[in-house]
């Protein structure tokens, strides 16, 4: 019974915690500019993330190691430092985007410029990490994140056509704006397969002391949690396509995205969008800060754990403190939060092979995984999607930069 409750909570928190600033920004842009035609990108990213999250949970359960810790041991410091540095840099950019998302939500609500919220928001994230336990951080914010289900409800209120929706799952180049279409597609994939997600999940499995009896529940949580979660991400595309595209509104700033729920819910739609943006970003900011501090601590062999008091894991606490401070400074500098988000997501897709490929090697190493090594099918699916996304990103990013100048 306790395990069943755990699985249910795991699935519910995966749904509530799925949406973050990247998913909201990329999906809103996609729907407003290209209608349903980028739904396939969310599907592709979701298939890959289900495999990666399941693998990261299974890896920690069977080997007793976290991914970062094992990559360092298996490949040595020289082989580890490049993916480690790249992941930390991208985590920092994404964390700045998440904090920026919360600040923009507060700006939409109060009219006070988003930069002025950077320090109070950074402080709020830090205080919660300093005083709360892992369960509060993981479950609390994700349960609040269920407010994002409003996007799903909006689809029924606005009335989407099932046949047109189904066509969106077949990749097809639009008649114009090929470069922008490609850029949004890789940004969506980057937002869906964020490396911090499976690094966090792997450390979480150790924090929660998962043993071998969790192998099946882990598979269940990864599959259903991520699948249902991605439906919300798809719902953002559909709602933007239904509410913004017919009006001729393209999402270049959050001020435009904030209109997407108004046709469905009236004045409440505006407040629901602001709440969804703020809560989704707040939850993701907590996870990102922790994932980055986990990575640094595991890389250097420091004491780590959100369930430990800060004085028991001082360097771990210092790591997330530093990360939050740096990210808050980036927001304070006034960089456009929407542009920062889109580029962070596209860069995420570029660096994916750096973390995913060494991880795949570990998943096939019987010294770590014993009889639980990966199947060929899992290897091929992850390998194909990760390499395809990285190649698309390398092509799309320069084209987007040239096109937007």
């Amino acid at each position: 019974m306790k395990k069943l409750l755990g699985i249910t909570l795991g699935i519910v928190t995966s749904i509530g915690g799925f949406l973050d600033v990247g998913s909201i920004a990329t999906s809103a842009q996609a729907g407003a500019a290209f209608g349903y035609s980028l739904l396939w990108a969310v599907l592709l990213g979701t298939i890959c993330v289900i495999f990666l999250v399941e693998m990261s949970g299974r890896f920690s359960i069977v080997s007793g190691h976290t991914i970062v810790d094992a990559i360092r041991k298996r490949f040595g410091f020289a082989g580890f430092i490049v993916p480690f540095a790249a992941t930390l840099l991208v985590n920092l950019l994404v964390l700045a985007s998440e904090l920026g998302g919360i600040c923009v939500a507060l700006q939409l609500l109060t009219g006070i410029r988003f930069q002025l919220w950077a320090l109070p928001v950074g402080l709020a994230v830090w205080l919660l990490l300093w005083f709360a336990t892992f369960d509060v951080v993981e479950d609390g914010t994700a349960l609040l994140g269920l407010v994002t289900l409003c996007f799903l409800v909006a689809i029924f209120t606005l009335g989407a056509q099932p046949r047109e929706l189904a066509a969106g799952f077949v990749p097809r180049l639009p008649s114009e704006e090929h470069a922008h279409y490609l850029f949004i597609a890789v940004s969506i994939i980057g937002a869906t397969i964020a490396p911090y997600l499976f690094l966090f999940y792997s450390s979480g499995a150790i924090e929660d002391k998962w043993d071998k009896s969790f192998i099946a529940p882990n598979r269940f949580i990864a599959t259903f949690g991520m699948s249902f979660g991605s439906i919300i991400s798809m719902a953002v595309i559909v709602v933007a396509a239904l509410a913004l595209k017919p009006e001729g509104i393209r999402v270049e700033e959050y001020e435009q995205a904030a209109l997407m729920l108004v046709p469905a819910f009236g004045r409440w739609g505006f407040y629901l969008f602001v709440a969804s943006l703020a809560i989704a970003c707040f939850g993701a900011a907590l996870e990102l800060s922790l994932a980055s501090a986990y990575s640094v601590s595991q890389a250097f062999g420091w004491n780590w754990g959100e369930n430990l008091k800060p004085r028991q894991a001082a360097r771990f606490s210092m790591a997330y403190t530093l990360f939050i401070a740096l990210a808050a400074l980036i927001v304070l500098s006034g960089l456009n939060p929407m542009k920062l988000t889109l580029f962070s997501m596209a860069i995420t897709a570029v660096i994916l092979p750096l973390t995913a490929l060494p991880f795949l090697v570990l998943m096939n190493d019987a010294r770590y995984m014993r009889e639980h090594v990966n199947s060929h099918f899992s290897n091929i699916v992850v390998l194909l999607i990760v390499l395809l996304s990285a190649i698309l990103a390398v092509v799309a990013i320069p084209l987007e930069i040239i096109g937007s100048k």
């Binding site: 470069a179 509104i249 393209r250 001020e255 209109l259 108004v262 096109g403």
Partner: protein
């Protein structure tokens, strides 16, 4: 020239050619945003603070785009919100829709 480099150069050229069209689309999108914000505000579906902020953003974006004159009616909309003048807002919406 290698085929992949040629393909990349062609794509880059297309991206540059799209640039002017993109700017016009951007201006049209901000005009549409201003119109939607004004309409929703009139229906009571948006709080004043957000409506004013969104219109200020639209005006700023339109002023630096290819059709800077398009920001003038948006500035008048901001004034109408400040005075809570629904009649003036109705007139401005009608004007903007005609364009």
């Amino acid at each position: 020239m290698k085929p992949w480099a040629f393909a990349l150069a062609c794509l880059a050229l297309c991206a540059c050619a799209d640039q002017q069209e993109q700017e016009l689309k951007r201006a049209a999108s901000w005009s549409a945003t201003a119109l939607a914000v004004a309409r929703y505000w009139l229906q009571g579906d948006l709080p004043d603070t957000y409506a004013k902020h969104a219109l200020e953003k639209a005006s700023e974006e339109l002023a630096k785009g290819p059709l800077p004159d398009a920001s003038e009616p948006v500035n008048e909309m901001i004034e109408a919100i400040g005075k809570r003048d629904q009649l003036a807002m109705r007139r401005l919406i009608a004007d903007l829709e005609k364009r």
